[in-house]
Structures are given as C-alpha cells and as structure tokens.
C-alpha cells in the first residue's frame, strides 16, 4: 500500500515486512487464521453462537488441505475439551473454541487440562450467561473460570486476536499451562476490520513445533492422571502455582519477541494509555478499552488529567503493573463487564486486593457496565470519569452505569449537582 494514508497504515501496523497480506475479516476468523498459522494439529469443537464461525472457517481450512490437522466433531463442549486433553497428552498442538454455556459445561475439564499441565489454547467468545437467554457480550462466563488454572487474555481488536493466539501457544508451551483467549461477542467476534496476517515462515520461526516434555508413547510408558495421595498433591499444586507466577515473565518476554519480529506489541499483561501524568485512571478490558481511548482523548482535550489501563492478561493478574500505577495516580476506577453476586465487579475486587498490602493505595472505585451486550459508548466512559472527577472517596462498591431504573433507585446517583464540566454526559 502506498499513498497519502501510508503513514496511518504504517502507524496502524499494516505496513511491515512481516506481513503476508492484510484482509478485512471478522474477529472469529482472525482466530481461525491464527490457528492455521500456528500449525495446530488437533481441533475439536462443538458449535455455539457466537463462536460458530471460528470453527466453521477452520473446518473449511482443514477440508481444503490448507492445514494438516485432525478436525474432530464432538457431541458437547465437555467432549471437545476431552479431545484436546487426549491429543495434547499425546504431544499434539490442540485447539478448541467455545462461548458462555459451552464454557460452563467444560468446567470440570478446564481443571483437568490445567492440572495435567497441557498447553491447550482455547478461544472463548464472551457471551452472557443464561437465564435469561442472551447471546450478547459480558465477561461472567470466562471470569467464572478464574480458578481453573488457565491463563486468560482479553482482546481489544481483531489484530490482537490473531496475534494473541500466536503468542498464546508460545506462552502455553513454555509454562505448560493452557491459555484462554477471550473476545467480546459480536462487538469483536462479528465485526470485520483490517487484520495483518503474518508470513508463515516467520510464524514458524516464532513458534516452532511443540516439544512435549512427557507424552503418551508406547515405547516409553508412563502413567498420566493417576491418583495421588496427600504426600505429593500439594507439591504439584505448588508447581502449578509457580508456573502461573512464572507466566508473568514469559508473557512479557513473548510479547517483546513478537514485537521484534512482527512490529506489534501489546505491552505484556497490561497496556497503558495516557497515564504518564494522569491523576485519574480507568482500568478496564476487551473492546471497551478501544472505545474508552476515544473518551480519554476527549477529556484530555478538555484539560482533565485522565488515563487508561487495559487489563490484557487477567490470569496471571497484573499485580506489579497495578501497584506501579498506584504509585503515580490519585484515583483508580475499574469498569467491569461482570458481576460477582454478593460481592462486586470481578476486576474491581482483584484490583483492590493487590493494593491492600501495597504502600501506595489511591482511592479505588468500582463500576459495572455493559452486561448482556448493553452498549458501552464514549458517553458511558465519560459518565464514569465524571463520577471519578467529582469524588474523592468511593461511597459504593458497585456503581451500576447505564441502568434504566429511575434515578432514585440507583445504588448511587452517577452525577453530582456540581458536575458542570461534564454536562454533556448528564442524564445518560
């Protein structure tokens, strides 16, 4: 590409020698093409909206002979993960994709995959849990799998989906843990936008064939998944814990290696935007980050010292990065697209938890927005910043943003009388 927009294309990472071609594709296909580039050997999946087109495209790719993989059709998500576990134990690079209720059905085997230390990669299209039935985005499905031992990433763009799938196999095979890559239902999964697909030979250099330290092999018999007594179970759990701790370093290193080869970086566990001199920072994840960048730009142009931290990796949680941020800012808001009933938004809880023992503890405010696909617009983000800019201490642990209930019924009225500077956001 050349011409007057060459600079924008270059800034957007669409002009780089590593690129084979740039295609306008939806988020699900951004995952499918990355799976092909990663030379995955076994794909097992059960269809569920809005994940379906991830594996539909892969079934075409496999049947067209473009990827030498076994495509296994199964009768449930539980079986899909069982296939991934079986093939991964035998040394293969395995992939599956699911969403929402399908992920919930896999729950038992998510523990099994992580406990077996298998580097399976899964794409989960974030969809709200039923009932009431919803096919729209929120993050309760994946965040409910928090304690299964899977790494979790949240993607902001289709390019990040492709790139994170490639990074995920490197990370997973380095720390011997499975990785879940989450993308927002429809807002990413069914949105088409330009994606740079890298050259196969460069991906092969970045991601060489998997070398499993142990595998099912008749000539070298071993036992897998055996019963273990109290004398050793705890040590195995400690090793898993350490592997997840070690994953922080590996995620950062793999992102740096990726940037060196492909020219795109995602900052490792988090990415900061306009935080350098910020006093008030919003922490959030996934596609809301993209829209929030626009709101931050607007508020900056009005003179408000605000910034953004994107949670890219939720597991392992970016403890160091958040503590580092806390040293520099006065207020942190956390916008969750999830809720833990009886508690608060989930990233909010985790953010507060890592700061309690830290020497610097700015005020931390929790917001819940965008559940079940409720649109998160620049106005939603500005409403939250308005709240943050007008208060010194939180008075509620979970401010619900964008509720249709009467103002009097809200847990906390979002706009103080004196919010003149933010008038454009009032009454949302």
């Amino acid at each position: 590409m050349k011409g007057r927009n060459g600079m924008s294309m270059r800034n957007a990472g669409l002009l780089h020698p590593s690129i084979e071609k740039v295609v306008v594709i939806e988020g699900t296909h951004a995952a499918s093409y990355a799976v092909k580039l990663a030379r995955v050997q076994v794909i097992a999946a059960y269809p569920i909206t809005p994940q379906t087109s991830v594996v539909e495209k892969l079934s075409e790719i496999v049947s067209d002979g473009e990827l030498d993989a076994k495509f296994i059709k199964v009768e449930s998500e539980h079986s899909a993960m069982a296939c991934c576990i079986g093939s991964s134990i035998s040394g293969a690079r395995a992939f599956t994709a699911t969403s929402s209720q399908g992920l919930a059905l896999m729950h038992e085997l998510l523990h099994w995959a992580a406990g077996s230390r298998l580097p399976i990669v899964m794409v989960n299209v974030n969809r709200a849990m039923a009932p009431p039935w919803s096919i729209y985005v929120d993050h309760n499905d994946s965040l409910s799998q928090r304690d299964t031992g899977w790494l979790q990433f949240y993607a902001e763009s289709n390019q990040e989906v492709t790139d994170t799938v490639l990074q995920a196999y490197r990370i997973a095979e380095t720390v011997s843990l499975p990785v879940m890559i989450n993308l927002d239902a429809f807002v990413l999964s069914h949105t088409s936008e330009p994606v740079a697909l890298p050259k196969q030979e460069l991906v092969d250099e970045f991601l060489p064939p998997r070398k499993a330290p142990f595998k099912v092999d008749a000539s070298d018999p071993r036992a897998f998944g055996a019963l273990i007594g109290p004398e050793a179970y705890m040590e195995m759990r400690y090793k898993l814990y350490q592997a997840m701790e070690d994953a922080r370093r590996v995620i950062r290193e793999v992102d740096r290696d990726f940037a060196a080869k492909f020219g795109r970086s995602y900052g490792g566990l988090v990415e900061e935007y306009m935080t350098e001199d910020a006093e008030t920072v919003l922490i959030t994840s996934a596609t809301a980050v993209s829209t929030a960048r626009i709101a931050v730009d607007e508020l900056r142009s009005m003179g408000f010292p605000v910034g953004l931290m994107k949670i890219r990796a939720f597991r392992p949680f970016p403890v160091d990065e958040i503590r580092e941020l806390a040293k520099r800012v006065r207020k942190i808001g956390v916008m969750d697209r999830s809720v833990s009933f009886g508690a608060t938004g989930i990233i909010y809880q985790e953010t507060k938890a890592v700061l309690y023992n830290a020497p610097d503890r700015p005020a931390v405010f929790g917001f819940i927005a965008g559940l079940g696909g409720r649109d998160i617009t620049p106005e939603t983000i500005k409403e939250i910043f308005s709240y943050l800019l007008n208060r010194e201490e939180p008075v509620s642990e979970a401010v619900w943003v964008g509720l249709k209930t009467a103002a009097a019924d809200r847990p906390e009225p979002p706009f103080p009388e004196n919010s003149a500077a933010m008038k454009s956001s009032e009454g949302v």
């Binding site: 050349k2 060459g6 800034n11 957007a12 306008v24 069914h190 088409s192 809301a288 993209s290 829209t291």
Partner: protein, 203 residues
Amino acid sequence: MIEIRMHGRGGQGGVIAAKILASAIFKEGKFAQSFPSFGVERRGAPVLAFTRADDKPIRLRTAIYEPDHLIVLDATLIKSTNVFSGLKRGGTILVNSSSRVESFAFPADYPSASVDAAGIAVRHGLGTRSIPIVNTAILGAFAKFSGLVGIESILEAIREGVPMKQNENAAAALEAYEVVEPAADLSDHGRFSAEESGTITVK
C-alpha cells in the same frame, strides 16, 4: 469518520453487503469496520448492518446511532420501522425500490435516490422474483450516489466477498451504478475531504 447504516430483512444480504463495502473502502487505503446489528438474524426479520470508514484506525466499537448514509434494502421497512433514527442532517437515503424516489416524499434537505435493485438482481439471476438478493446491486448504486467509494473497488470486493455467482453479482452492481445519478449537494460529513482522498493502491 463516515458511518453508513443498512436496513434490510434477513436473507437480503445486508450483513454481507456491509462487509463488502468495508473491504472496498479498505482497498482505497481507508480504514473500515463493518458489523451486523449484534442480533439473531432470521429470514424476513428486520436486520441492521453497519459500516464505518475513516482515514485513521477506527477505535469506536458501538452501534451506529447517527449515520451519515442510509441504505434501505426493503422499502416496506420505511413504514414499519424508524429507519431515519439519528440520521445526520443532510445525510443521504438510498432505497431499493422500483418506485420513483419522489413517491417517498423524503425531506428535501436529505439527498435521496431509489434504484430497482431487486429488478436488477433478478435479471442477473440473483435470488428469485419473490426473494431477490439485492445486496450487491445496491452497493453499485451506493458507490455512484454517495461518491464515497469507487465502483472498481466495489466490484473487486464483490468478486472476493460473495460465495457464488461472482460475475453475476459484479454485473448487477455495475448495472445499478450506471442507472443512478450522483447525489447533489452532499454535506461535508458524508464524504472524505479532498485532502483525505489520496490515491491508494492495495497490493
């Protein structure tokens, strides 16, 4: 940023049209994004599809509430749904209809046109008389009417983006392109400015 909202019914191909439009815009060196109405599409049910175009990467990830351009694939939707919701002042309206555009009595300050995309589609063997696939024909008409994207880019994107009858779809788009007149007096927001419209070639 330029925002286009397409109103159709499930089965007319609006979602694919929005995607082809995004591909065509990208071929001209602009950034583009397209998405369906985040819904469960059923045959015959009202369906929205959206396309955004800009000369810089598009970060906005919300539905389109205030479009610059409206494309209506089924004129009956004008009576049964509020297709004009949020349309920017001076925004354009393009309707698939064999009736003259005057018969719709659109407000004068909204440039409007009609094109018999259904008739054109049927002549090119796209769908049937009762269920014509009008998405590619309307794109040809939109290219001419809006001036937003060139017909060559549309035709190339159609050949790459439709699963079958690539030549028939391209021919339908070209025919619709030829029968429509460009909109007069487009307000600035509906087009790229001259500075933005560099000549870009995509390899």
